[in-house]
């Protein structure tokens, strides 16, 4: 039986339908990536799976328990690292883990051994009695990860866990999370705006406007897109897009003034394009499709762009 199972999940806030139809399942020990532009319904879906939000319709089970009928059982089996920070800056990492341990019914001894284990592995043991106020962003995030793991959850929900972290901190976190999955069979549900993280997932679900629009392994999603991706940079992107459509019958996507087209055979198409195009062009390049291209073709939004929006919002 799947560890996470969602069927026809829906959630409305007043008249706004944040999640319209979400169905998927995640197996035990899987690293599942949940991608989508901002406002597509990712955080709302996580909210429902973690019992923080009540679904308007559909149903979901996590670790075999229904999120509506037995939320307490679901809560016992999950760990959570949310997008926004959720700690009191005046407390220390030790306080944070102790509070979490008490809430999950761990004994004082268990709390002590688990804290030492987690904080050492995540490189925080020496700073365990410092106020979180004095931590860097990466340290605070690792402390939040440690808190999410004190009670040895079966399922770990990570909502943009490495947002805004330096590569070094991201590496430390990922090494640890991946180890958990391999050795303890912890199931990981991840949302991210980082391409490399998405590429490492076993399977991806892409959500757009409240609906799942793709659900497969990263490789298969890329090959489904097929062919080559031609990227055209021009001072007049709208005209380029119109001309490519008109002359060659090829549909394009324009994101941030950069025009991309998905074609079967770029080697044959390129000479034709350059001969036929009258609009001035700065550069043309050809690539194998990346997840970025998959994302753009499904959501008309740019992966990295979403990232920048979020960084802007945070700072």
């Amino acid at each position: 039986m799947a560890t996470i199972q969602a069927g026809g999940l829906r959630k409305s806030f007043g008249r706004i339908e944040a999640v319209k139809d979400v169905s998927f399942s995640v197996d035990k020990g899987e690293l599942f990536g949940f991608l989508g532009p901002n406002g597509a319904g990712k955080t709302t879906t996580i909210g429902m799976l973690t019992t923080l939000l009540r679904p308007t319709g559909g149903r979901a089970t996590v670790a075999g328990n229904d999120v509506v009928r037995d939320p307490a059982a679901v809560r016992r089996s999950i760990g959570l690292v949310l997008q926004e920070s959720t700690y009191d800056q005046d407390l220390t990492a030790m306080h944070m883990l102790r509070i979490q341990g008490i809430a999950f019914g761990l004994s004082a001894r268990e709390i002590r051994t688990r804290s030492e284990e987690l904080l050492s592995l995540l490189d925080l043991w020496d700073r365990r009695n410092d106020r979180l106020r004095e931590y860097s962003g990466g340290m605070a995030r690792r402390a939040e990860l440690a808190r999410g793991l004190v009670h040895k959850p079966e399922v770990l929900f990570l909502d943009e866990p490495t947002l805004g972290l330096d590569p070094q901190s991201r590496r430390t976190m990922w090494d640890y999370i991946d180890g958990l999955r391999r050795t303890d069979g912890v199931t990981i549900f991840l949302t991210t705006h980082y391409m490399e993280e998405a590429d490492n997932c076993g399977r991806l679900g892409i959500i757009n406007d409240g609906r799942i629009v793709a659900l497969d392994t990263p490789d298969r999603l890329k090959s489904q897109l097929g062919g080559d991706v031609v990227t055209i940079v021009s001072p007049q992107p709208t005209q380029v897009a119109a001309e490519v459509m008109e002359r060659f019958g090829v549909a394009t996507q324009t994101v941030e003034g950069i025009v991309t087209a998905n074609v079967q055979d770029a080697a044959g198409f390129l000479p034709e394009l350059l001969r036929g195009l009258t609009t001035p062009v700065d550069s043309v390049s050809v690539n194998r499709p990346t997840l970025e291209d998959v994302f753009v073709s499904l959501t008309d939004r740019n992966f990295g762009k979403a990232q920048n929006d979020l960084d802007g919002k945070r700072s």
Partner: protein, 273 residues
């Protein structure tokens, strides 16, 4: 929703632990919570002591207002402490508790336990000056006072939580002040409710805080010699339709008020996402 006993007390312990640690680490807050009520007492109590006729309030004004000041300190701490749940949500750490296997009642119970401990600590500091005012806190006065203070804190703390759960924006957090003002000023903390204009008397008697305030005063001043005797206690006793509320009845009003508010706060909190 099935909730075991463990889910209540784990929530209570986790939240009370957090709030108490958080309070004790804010040195300025600890210091001001101890000094401010004493400051009030000195300026209002001593300032008005010579102005107010003792026969109107049953004792010297300083003695009369001393229990009122204790009740005021308690209600400020409990109301603001309870309403703090709004900021817990705002800063995000309430979410971690909501995603943990603890009950909503447990979370609220934890907040109220913490404000009760903090306010008792505050009252203990205020009781240090009792001998200088001529109030004797000995014998059965201590457990009776303790009981009153706990009932009072739970009731007012629950009201604070209820407000904190209902408010949605930092602007409406001002609500706490709007509620505190009439509740404290129309509760007999600063004047005896029997000797004021009828409209004010009616408002004061509708205010549930009036009863525990009268109770705290009766308990605290009952052994204060030499100028307080049973006869002198009468001017600040509360009469409802001619019936004189005794210490037990006053405690019962506080307990009833507490149960209703705690239930309302828990209900309101449980319905939210």
């Amino acid at each position: 929703m099935r909730e075991s006993f463990a889910e209540h007390y784990r929530g209570l312990f986790a939240v009370a632990y957090r709030d108490l640690i958080s309070f004790s680490r804010g040195r300025v807050a600890v210091f001001s919570s101890l000094i401010l009520p004493l400051g009030f007492l000195v300026f209002i109590g001593i300032g008005l002591d010579d102005v107010v006729d003792p026969s109107a309030v049953g004792a010297s004004y300083l003695k009369f207002v001393y229990p009122g000041m204790i009740a005021m300190a308690l209600s400020q701490t409990a109301l603001f402490g309870g309403a703090q749940i709004f900021w817990d949500r705002q800063y995000g750490y309430l979410k971690m508790m909501l995603a943990a296997p603890v009950s909503r009642l447990g979370i609220i119970g934890g907040k109220i336990t913490a404000v009760t401990v903090i306010s008792l600590f505050q009252v203990a500091a205020m009781l240090v000056v009792a001998p200088f005012i001529g109030v004797s806190v000995t014998g059965w006065v201590i457990p009776a006072l303790f009981l009153y203070l706990v009932l009072f804190s739970v009731a007012v703390g629950s009201l604070g939580v209820l407000i904190g759960v209902r408010i949605r924006s930092p602007q409406s957090a001002q609500m706490v002040g709007v509620v505190t003002f009439p509740l404290t000023f129309m509760s007999g903390m600063f004047f005896p409710v029997n000797s004021v204009p009828t409209w004010l008397e009616v408002l004061a008697k509708i205010n549930p805080l009036t009863y525990p305030v009268a109770g705290i005063r009766e308990v605290l001043l009952s052994r204060t010699d030499p100028d307080v005797s049973t006869a002198v206690l009468e001017p600040f006793a509360v009469h409802v339709f001619g019936y004189r509320m005794g210490a037990w009845e006053n405690a019962l009003v506080a307990a009833g008020f507490g149960v209703v508010l705690l239930a309302a706060a828990t209900w309101s909190f449980s319905r939210q996402e």
